[in-house]
Structures are given as C-alpha cells and as structure tokens.
Amino acid sequence: MAHKIEVKNLYKIFGPHPEKALALLKEGSTKDEILDKTGHGIGVANVSFHVEEGEILVIMGLSGSGKSTLVRCLNRLIEPSYGQILLEGTDVTKLNKEDLRILRQTRFGMVFQHFALFPRRTVIKNVEYGLEIQKVDQAERQKRALAALEQVGLKGWENSYPSQLSGGMQQRVGLARALALDPDIMLMDEAFSALDPLIRRDMQDELLKLQEKMHKTIIFISHDLDEALKLGDRIILMKDGYIVQDGTAEEILTNPATRYVEKFVEDVDLSKVLTAEIIMKNPIEIASYAHDGPKAALWKMNRAGISSIFVQHKGKLVGIVTAEDAATALKKGEKDLAGIVIRDIHKVSPETPANDLFALLAENSSPVAVIDEEEHLLGVIVKGSLLAALSEGVMVNGTD
C-alpha cells in the first residue's frame, strides 16, 4: 500500500539565495559553516520519511533541530525550498494558493505548543473557527463544535474565554479546534510541552484513547523522549536539520544509530539509571511447588489476571508455569506441577540495569524473574512494565 504521506529529499533553507547554501550543503559543509559563509540558515536538510495511515509518528529532537520547521513544511506554513511532499500521491509543494487553502481546510488539523487560541473568541467560537472559514452554516458548525468539545471532555465550557481556562483545558480546546474539522492528519507541534508534567501525562493518555477511536494519522513533534516513547508508533530523531534515526522506540533505545542518538537516549532516558529493582512489580501470586497442582496454579493465575505464574519451593525459585500448560495438565489429570514447570527462565539480580533487560525481554515474551542471592523471587518484569517505567522514569527517579 502507498504511504499516507511521503516526504522526499526535503530542504528548507532560510535566506535569499538558497541555491548557494544547497551547493555547500551537498559538499558537506555543516549548518554553522554555511551560516558563517553565506548567512543562510538550514532549517531542514535532505529529509525523507514516510507516515502510514493511522500511525502516530513522533519527530523528536532538541530545540533548533528543525523539527518544528519540518512539520510546518508539511502544510506549507513554511514554504519548503526543495523536495517533495506527497500526500496520498499529490505533491503538496506544487499546489497553488487556492488548492493549498482547501487542503489545509480539509486534511490538516494543527495543534500548537502555546495553544494559539483566539483570545477574543469564546471556547466554542474558537472550535468553530475552521468551520466558519469554510462557511459551514451556524447550526451545523455549532453541532460539530459541541461534539468536538465533548470528545475532549470540555462540555459545559463553551461560553468561557480561553483566558479563563487552565493550560491543560486550553490545549483541549486547541485539540477540539483541530478535531472539529475532522481532518485525516493531525499535526501536533510540541502540543503538550507547555503543560506541567502531571497534566501532560493526562493529555498523552487522552490522546492515545482518542486515537483508538479516531485512527487519525498523527505527526507529533516533541523534545521529550519519554513522550516519544509513550506516544510514538515510530520515532524520527532529528539533529541540525537532518534525520539521524527513524525507527520504533525499542530500535532507537537498543540500537542508537549515531553517537548523537546514543547521547540523546543516554541524557534523557533513564534506562541506564533504572534497575530491575525499580522496574519490577511485586509478584501478585506465586505457586508453591510442594502444595499446588495445576488447578490451584490456574486459579491463582485467574485471580491475578496473569497468563503465567512463577513457582517456588521452600523460598527458592523453581521455574514458571504457563496457563496453557496448566490447563493441559489439568485435563490429563496431573496432580502436581513437576511435569509442566519450565526451569529454564531468565533470572536477574535487582541491580541489573534496564538496558540489559531489553535484550532479555526482546528474546521471548515470558516475564523475567528478579531474585536475590538466596534465589528468592523478589519481583517480576514484563515488557510492558519496562517501557512504562522508562516513559515514567522521571517520576520513579524523582521519588527515589
């Protein structure tokens, strides 16, 4: 299938003679050298990537890396200098003004870092703005605006002014304003960066929940690795206008493409600071090798809502039993766990860094056991808890 959006060799060079800067760029000059020599700024340099329908793509980078410029090139709020942007095969860069306007009206919804709400309009008038521009009649646009406000949980606030709302609520209005148009692509420029951490997390959850229903194609700009890990189906890392890595969260964390990515991951992410002890969850249920049969093991798994259970004998970890095996054993009428316990499992000490856990968890999907010197089970780590711990790393670290 064709990509939803495909960007090919996109450049944005600020200044009157981009061709000079482009030539230097192709000769391998750096951004700073070109700025010194020609006075031209490099916003985006030879960027190619694609976005799939219904995917959340996070473009990440430090400030000045060109990520905001790049997203503005997509709907040509900033006019790209060279390259192609194909939206379902149509080259956006070739559109005339009128077609571009219609494209912006119907296809793109944009959410801004500092909300960019119109201060002299009420909440509902803000949300109606895009529809008003399209000359949708009053009753219809009110209906759609109210629906959008309800979606973001702001029902009842229609007639307030933006200044009367908290930051989080203002950004919900921003989100509703984009959603009211029902665009298929959402451009979110550091949409949650101006919010305080707790609200930010709420908004991220909210966005993911909305996305489950909406299946929009979302391009999300962020400078925050935690946010990127949490939201992104894929992450693009940018530096000095170039893309330095394009991949899934795990690819970027486990296999940084360049020193820069490594440093980025190192600096922001706490996978090296986080240890097994912090990430692990207390085992909710443990099966006893001596007393529990398949039926008891199944019952315990059921009660805890897990699909496999660790087995201990006299305070020492023996292995793991899966629900599937236990069920088979139960049918066969086996009375103990001896036949089905898997003894070859990953065991780590509490001090193991999170980075090492990635490798273990990537190998197979069964949980990793955290044990002490006496081989006593201390906790359990599953893939989800590792990623969750990473994306909430600041919090864990902060309370430590």
């Binding site: 571009l100 494209l103 912006r104 521009i133």
Partner: protein, 279 residues
C-alpha cells in the same frame, strides 16, 4: 559669489498653486460637501434647546462608558458651558471635531491596515507620518486657505492632516502586534487574507485602534482650536477674539469650555476602548 539656494519653499508653493489652479473643482466639491455636512450637523444640534442636548450627551456618556462619574461630569460640565454662554461655539467645535475625526478615520484606518499588511507601504507611509507629526501645526493652515478659503472647511482640512497620524500608526501597530502563532493558527485552517483580517487581526487590534481614535480626537480638538486663526468659529474663535481684544475673562472661559469638552471626549473614548479589551 552668489549663494545657491535650493528652492524647497518655492517648489512647494508651486505645487500648491498648481493644485489650486487645476484641481479647484475637486477642492471646491470637497468644500461644498463638507460645508453642507457641518451645517446640517450644527443646525440639527442647534435645533434642540441646550438642555435637551445636555441630557442626550449625558445619556450617551453613561451608555458608552457605563460609569456614573463620567455621566455626572458630562452633565455638570455641559451645564457650566451653557451657563457661561458658550453653547453655540461649543456645538460648532464638537461638530468640527466629529467631522474631522470621521474623515481622519475613513482615510487613516485603511492606510493603517494597508501599511500593516504590506511592508513596502509601511516603509513609505511611516516616514511621511513622522514628518506630518513633527511639522508645526500652524503650517497646515497655510495651504488650507488657497484650497478651501477661510472658514470651517479649511479648518477641517488642516485638522484631518494633523490628527490622522495616530489613527494610521496605532491601527498598523495593533495589527502587527497580533502574535505570529495566532496568524499561523489562522493560516493552518486555510483562512483567506480577508478572513484572517476580519476574524482575527482587526478584532485583536481593536483596543489599540480605539486608543488611536482617542488620540485622533484629542489632536483634532487641539487643531480645531488653532484653526480659529483661519476662520473656524467655535471655542477657538472665542479664544482668538479674546486674544485680539485682550479680554482674559472671555479667554479663560472659552479655555475652560475646551478643557471640559476634551475631558468628556477622552474619558468616554477610553472607556469604550477599555471595555473592548476585557470582553
């Protein structure tokens, strides 16, 4: 050696003569229209007994400013003017100010918008405004005479030129002050230029534009007084008469009446602008 003199003054005089000679039909037409406008306005105001107008102005002050203090000041101030026997000149001064301001706004607002949206226009208009504002006000009276003759129309001409700059400047400023992010937001939804102007930029600029209108009114009032020298009647005329006859009592009474009118207009306009801001 004979000194070479660059004929700046002569050239300007030449241009003024040229306009007077060849465009007299235009200046005459403007003169007629404006004169009729002034007459209608003054006559209709004079048609009512002063106390009716005082009540109307007070009600208007209360309605626009929503403040009892300003309404009370209007009531007492205007009653005082009536009592000083300055009602007729006051009415004609107010009429001159209103008409001048109206013309200044009609020209100034579009120019302000244009210079905000077009950087070339901005670069041309702003230095002209600087000159207009620093030129001594009296100088504007001189071309008014050949163009429109002595009387209220010449006064309005020079008043419009003198009082227009803040209207242009602050309209331009108000529009330029709209944050880039809001402009981007409006663009990202596919607004046309005029949608952006009418739905975002002008509403956002309104408080600043109102401040500009306020300044224009104040400048118009001061110029209308000066224009008494070329035969604009009204309160300025009273002051002018008092100077010529050396009558300090009459002079100060007219002066106080001007202050009262100025304070009333200023407070009402400020409140009108201020209310816009908090809405």
């Amino acid at each position: 050696m004979e000194q070479i003199r660059i004929p700046i003054g002569k050239s300007i005089e030449y241009v003024i003569d040229l306009i007077t000679e060849h465009f007299s039909f235009a200046t005459r037409a403007f003169s007629d229209i404006t004169e009729t406008g002034i007459n209608i306005l003054v006559d209709s105001m004079m048609f009512f007994p002063p106390w009716v107008l005082i009540i109307v102005f007070t009600a208007l002050a209360l309605f626009i400013s929503r403040e009892k203090g300003i309404a009370l000041f209007t009531l007492i101030g205007m009653a005082l003017i009536w009592n000083m026997g300055l009602w007729t000149p006051t009415v004609s001064t107010i009429a001159l100010v209103l008409i001048s301001t109206l013309i200044a706004m009609l020209i100034g607002l579009p120019l302000g918008i244009f210079s905000a949206l077009n950087s070339t226009a901005y670069r041309i208009i702003m230095p002209i405004l600087d000159v207009m504002q620093t030129m001594p006000a009296f100088v504007y009276l001189i071309p008014a005479i050949p163009f429109f003759g002595l009387g209220p129309v010449g006064a309005i001409f020079s008043t419009v030129i003198f009082s227009m700059p803040p209207a242009i400047r602050l309209t331009c400023l108000g529009i330029k002050q709209v944050p880039v992010e809001l402009i981007e937001a409006a663009d990202s939804f596919g607004s046309t230029r005029s949608q952006k102007l009418f739905k975002l930029q002008l509403p956002m600029a309104t408080p600043t534009i109102m401040a500009g209108i306020n300044q224009t009114i104040m400048l118009a009032l001061s110029m209308v007084v000066i224009a008494a020298m070329i035969g604009a009647k009204g309160l300025g005329g009273e002051v002018w008469k008092a100077i010529q006859r050396l009558e300090p009592d009459k002079g100060f009474e007219a002066g106080i009446a001007i202050v009262i009118v100025a304070v009333i207009l200023d407070r009402i306009m400020q409140k009108a602008g201020g209310r816009q801001k908090t809405a």
